[in-house]
């Protein structure tokens, strides 16, 4: 798994916020009305996925990165 730096992780967390905030509007275009709690659940799922990628990247980094390739 590609290793991401804590800084990039933080930036990706920031990017999840507009996705979550507009999630209900997006669903509304298709006539699906979601409750407010759906936004919280969606944000939690996004953060969980990101965290999993971050942790997996630390536990099992790509071979090239283990050899010292630069990560931002």
């Amino acid at each position: 798994m590609r290793r991401i730096s804590p800084a990039l992780f933080l930036v990706l967390v920031a990017f999840t916020v507009p996705l979550a905030v507009e999630f209900r509007t997006f669903a509304g275009f298709f006539g699906i009305e979601l409750p407010f709690i759906a936004v919280i659940v969606f944000e939690a799922v996004l953060l969980a996925v990101l965290t999993a990628i971050y942790v997996l990247g630390r536990i099992t980094p790509d071979e090239e990165e283990e050899e010292g390739a630069a990560t931002p």
Partner: protein
């Protein structure tokens, strides 16, 4: 390694002083912004609603005019000195414009904040747009006039530096950063003529009582003649940093110097003849003139789209130099841990969103849907409030070490700060845009109405309010972190190499740019011509309709309702059983009204 403060210590002091004023204004303005947001969302009310406009005016003036423009003059002083590689012609002139601008700022701010204290006979609750018929204390206008004259002197200082440099380098291309400064100042000189005429010939004499009335539409039009180019005056420092610093921070080089020059020339030409697009609903301007302004505005999208292409291409080049690969995975190779880079990149991203909402503002027909709603503050908090402000804060993390010789106190705090700003603005600005679509008005402390509910297409109005309040809280905390980091940096000890301040040559250098791009006199002439074409007939029509001085009295005015009370009490006094036998109360009131009128 010697950095800016070692090479140009006098200029570094001026830039530091300019930044200091800018950051003080940022702190006060941000606090007022938080108080307003919590007040109008009804989360926390620590002021009276009557004082809302005082805080709103202070918020707008301190952030949109003082913070941005003081940062600009500091940045431009750095850029001119650095790119010409020589000290400014006379540092006394430099301190003179700084002193004039600062004095003007203090006067205007005192006039505004005095409105919070009833015992002081002074107020300036005219909002940052300060056109008639709202009237401020003369000190406010005089302060603004000094501030603008100070910026003119700053421009003269930089043009004198250019003249000296040109004398020694007759055949060289103008260095890119200096070119950006000079073209921006040409735009500023052309555009501030409108507001200078408005303030000096109408608003100051009117506020001093030398003339009794003004033509509100004329002062409004003269304000917007300046009011749209000022947007680009805010934006050009951000563009300067995006074009010349961001590619370096990304690890690469600017993609194209000639394209950058074309963009700045286009802003000189197109920034001013578009101001009427702020007046689409003004009844005194013919629709044809508004249509012309809309067309010109749409042309302004071109330099912004060119910028998006050039800056993204430069950043991608930097990422690939750092080992980035693939269609999008190169994004992961960028130096996100650097707050200067991360802040500018996030600011640029949000500028794209702000640009889209700006296109909606610019369209005449669709503008009617969002005019004077919360959509508009939502838009400009994305543009000036993030693209400009966040770029300036992020740029500070790279510039301050050069100006002080000290390393940034904490880069992790800096990173947290820029990310917190981005998230806070996502919450606040998104909610403002959505509220604007429901028709929620801007510029009011009490956006709720009796017997009327705003209907949200998705979610609820309550959620929107909470988003605005939460977003504004994050933004304020971000400013607190920023000011702490800056203050701690200033208080720190000097180090040998505080930052790598080199800027590499562009991939496509200035030698590839047509020589005509450096012909500043030509672009100034065309810009003036376009302004004359766009504004002569509308201004003539406005003056022809209502005269140069119009007929509008001063606002806010006090309207006495005493006679209404007298009439009502008198009428009720007649309501005896005997009088009801022959005279209806309505008739009695009507008689009394006629009597009072006589």
């Amino acid at each position: 390694m010697a950095t800016f403060v070692d090479k140009f210590p006098d200029e570094a002091k001026v830039v530091q002083a300019s930044f200091a004023v800018a950051f003080i204004a940022l702190g006060i303005g941000a606090l007022f912004g938080l108080i307003q947001a919590l007040h109008r969302t009804n989360v926390l009310r620590v002021i009276d609603s009557v004082d809302y406009y005082t805080l709103l005016t202070a918020h707008g003036v301190l952030l949109a005019l003082v913070f941005t423009i003081f940062f600009l003059v500091g940045l431009f002083t750095w850029a001119v000195t650095r790119s010409f590689g020589r000290a400014l012609p006379d540092i006394r002139l430099t301190w003179a414009w700084f002193g004039l601008m600062t004095t003007g700022t203090v006067l205007a701010t005192v006039a505004i904040v005095a409105g919070l204290f009833p015992q002081i006979p002074m107020s300036a609750d005219v909002l940052y747009t300060f056109y008639a018929p709202l009237q401020a204390h003369p000190i406010f206008y005089i302060g603004l006039a000094m501030f603008i004259i100070g910026t003119w002197m700053a421009g003269a200082d930089w043009f004198l530096a250019y003249r000296e440099w040109r004398g020694e380098n007759p055949d060289s291309r103008i260095p890119l950063q200096a070119f950006m400064v000079l073209t921006t100042m040409i735009m500023w000189y052309v555009s501030t003529l409108g507001v200078a005429v408005s303030v000096v010939f109408f608003l100051i004499p009117w506020s001093l009582g030398l003339i009794e009335t003004v033509n509100p539409l004329l002062t409004r039009t003269l304000f917007w003649y300046f009011g749209h180019p000022v947007v680009y005056f805010w934006l050009m420092p951000a563009y300067l940093l995006w074009y010349t610093v961001l590619p370096k921070l990304a690890g690469g080089r600017l993609f194209s110097d000639p394209l950058a020059r074309v963009v700045f020339v286009l802003f000189v030409l197109l920034s001013t003849p578009v101001g009427i697009h702020h007046q689409y609903v003004d009844p005194g301007i013919a629709e044809g003139f508004k249509f012309i302004a809309m067309t010109n505005t749409m042309f302004l999208l071109l330099p912004s789209l060119l910028t998006a292409f050039t800056v993204v291409a430069s950043v991608e080049h930097g990422a690939r130099q750092r080992g980035g690969e693939g269609y999008l995975s190169w994004l992961g190779a960028l130096p996100w841990r650097d707050p200067a880079f991360a802040g500018m990149a996030l600011a640029g991203l949000m500028f794209a969103a702000g640009g889209f909402s700006g296109m909606i503002n610019a369209g005449m027909n669709i503008n009617y849907l969002v005019h004077n709603t919360l959509w508009v503050p939502g838009h400009f908090h994305m543009t000036v409030g993030t693209a400009v402000a966040l770029t300036m804060m992020a740029g500070t993390y790279w510039l301050l070490p050069q100006l002080t010789g000290k390393a940034v106190y904490s880069r992790p705090i800096g990173l947290l700060q820029v990310i917190m700003w981005f998230i806070g603005m996502v919450f606040m600005s998104n909610a403002m845009h959505r509220a604007g679509l429901f028709g929620v008005p801007r510029r009011t402390a009490e956006p709720q109405y009796q017997n009327f509910d705003f209907v949200a297409a998705v979610g609820s109005v309550g959620e929107i309010r909470m988003q605005i309040a939460f977003g504004s809280l994050l933004l304020f905390l971000s400013v607190v972190l920023f000011l702490f980091n800056v203050a701690a940096t200033w208080a720190d000890d000097r180090v040998d190499t505080p930052v790598d301040d080199t800027i590499p040559e562009p991939l496509s250098p200035s030698s590839g740019a047509p020589l005509v791009l450096d012909n500043l006199a030509l672009w100034t002439g065309i810009a003036v011509l376009l302004v004359v074409l766009a504004y002569t007939l509308p201004l003539a029509s406005i003056v022809n309709d209502a005269g140069l001085l119009g007929g509008s009295p001063t606002f806010p005015v006090t309207v006495s309702l005493e006679w209404v009370v007298d009439v009502t009490v008198g009428a009720l006094g007649n309501l005896s059983l005997d009088s009801l036998a022959g005279v209806a109360p309505a008739d009695a009131v009507a008689d009394l009204v006629r009597e009072v009128r006589r």
